[in-house]
Symmetry: C2
Subunit: 357 residues, 2 copies
Amino acid sequence: MEMKMAVLPGDGIGPEVMDAAIRVLKNVLGRYGHEAVFEKGLIGGAAIDETGTPLPEETLEICRRSDAILLGAVGGPKWDHNPASLRPEKGLLGLRKEMGLFANLRPVKAYAPLLSASPLKREFVENVDLVIVRELTGGLYFGRPSERRGPAQHEVVDTLQYTREEIERIVDKAFQLARIRRKKLASVDKANVLESSRMWREIVEETSAKYPDVEVRNMLVDSTSMQLIANPGQFDVIVTENMFGDILSDEASMITGSLGMLPSASLRSDRFGMYEPVHGSAPDIAGQGKANPLGTVLSAAMMLRYSFGLEKEAEAIEKAVDGVLRAGYCTGDLQVPNGKIVGTDELAGRLIEKLGE
Amino acid sequence: MEMKMAVLPGDGIGPEVMDAAIRVLKNVLGRYGHEAVFEKGLIGGAAIDETGTPLPEETLEICRRSDAILLGAVGGPKWDHNPASLRPEKGLLGLRKEMGLFANLRPVKAYAPLLSASPLKREFVENVDLVIVRELTGGLYFGRPSERRGPAQHEVVDTLQYTREEIERIVDKAFQLARIRRKKLASVDKANVLESSRMWREIVEETSAKYPDVEVRNMLVDSTSMQLIANPGQFDVIVTENMFGDILSDEASMITGSLGMLPSASLRSDRFGMYEPVHGSAPDIAGQGKANPLGTVLSAAMMLRYSFGLEKEAEAIEKAVDGVLRAGYCTGDLQVPNGKIVGTDELAGRLIEKLGE
Ligand SMILES: CC(C)[C@H](C(=O)O)[C@@H](O)C(=O)O
Ligand SMILES: CC(C)[C@H](C(=O)O)[C@@H](O)C(=O)O
């Protein structure tokens, strides 16, 4: 089987971390005897500059003929004052919707060599190993109307909208994931206020009948935002709607204090997926060769696991990351005690070395 | 001037902490020569049990003829399975809406004797002194439609709705508050996705012309949920819409690790206000005389400040709280190193003693 991957480096540090990740990816694929083709596309600010739109049709075509997408980062001050339709993040939102990527997975895991980097005390972080499953193509992000109205446009509305099917598929995805993990699911809503949350809760209840081995509990979003700080170790899988997920997954990404390490996957029901680091385009350090490639590298590992079923290969990458950190190598954003700060390319080289050991 | 206060103890530990707070309040008022009348009303589960509704008309009347409301806590497992309209929190939501309490203020401040209680490392917490100003009577909480629809009710919508005036008054309130504090305002929205957020941002921009001495910046809600953990000391006043405020203020309430200490105020444009601790009704320890009264006591101090303009008296209470903690007295939920755990009533007594020093 030849694997086809769309590669969208994007803006800021996107191209650098992508180059590093592709080197690592090619190395591991070669080692295990897989063939892959990589096709590059434009997205975000880079696409606006070159084609006048953040998501060119050509990019969509590349993605459609691929098995998975690896994305760097989009955005930067250069485009911050563009009108809404010409903003880099529109490319991202468009891609999610066009490709039907309704399930965003964001794992947050404590790495032993990085424990001291957390704003939280050690005992609150050391056992953290959770995944947030965020609904990604519905809710307030895409509901209509979203407009001004009334006399002199004095009123404004946005719409939190879901169909039963949209909720069912994301809840089911989360149960599936919980089943292959520690079998604990927290479903997060605001059922004491929102009708959509009450429907969400009903669907969780119904779906749980299919997964008797998974222990599920319903939590309110405000209480969850507390618990993520007070006791993050209690969570295994968390599932929630789009906007709640946006807020909670960013909150969760601070728990370990190592944003640059975090990967993400955006999936649908088949094996297709888009994979990208959680960090942004970091324009302040772009082009300096010092960006942390590990978020993108770990996203590539998720890609191997979820889109290609290559569990061993994914684990090889994850082990290499762990090994390199334990050996004391890191980029400037990471706080490895007595660590040696190296550049993006050297860190990729160290990973490749570890893969060979 | 005779001050009139509505006292709504509510459920769980509400009555105990309220009794303690009223003792302290009466003491400080007596000391400064003020006269006050207190009128008790039912709310929440207690009101459901006695009158069949979480917000009886009589309670509303008591509130309408008062200058301010002091509230304990509402809710408990006993009413958790009631239909939506017969839930204790409906009493709270109804009171906010009926009395027009559109501005919820939640201060979060680090107390030196309690620093070690935080999940966050000391250096992240010690300078924290922020207030979240949350819009409380609009947005997703009250927007219509909020309903199931379509064939077989397969679709659900909630509506995030604001008028220009609703946004203007809360933003203005936040600027006013920033002006009498450290003059730094962070306005939180999701302007890259929501039309309501774009209107919000425009109004912040317009209003800022009236407050040239206040430094204002716009932040995205996801980024704010990160920054509250990564660097909470950067914030002075934060203003945001209802649902974002619900999530962020609960997140912020965990920063210090001492939820039981946190007060809140819900205000409108005149001096009327409702004051309540941030903690819940804690049914597990209700009736045992060990609940922490300090959140309610500090809410009473906010009441003196905002509804009655009694700054000296408010500060006297706040100093007494600080003094009692420094002397090592606390309730079981607080972690004062080498502290002496005492009951609700004894802690109130210690506060009264301090007030006399
Ligand atoms: C850029 C923005 C529209 C996007 C979102 O809110 O979904 C981002 O915050 C994310 O979480 O990927
Ligand atoms: C009880 C609930 C409806 C309420 C809210 O969401 O406003 C509570 O969480 C609060 O913050 O006071």
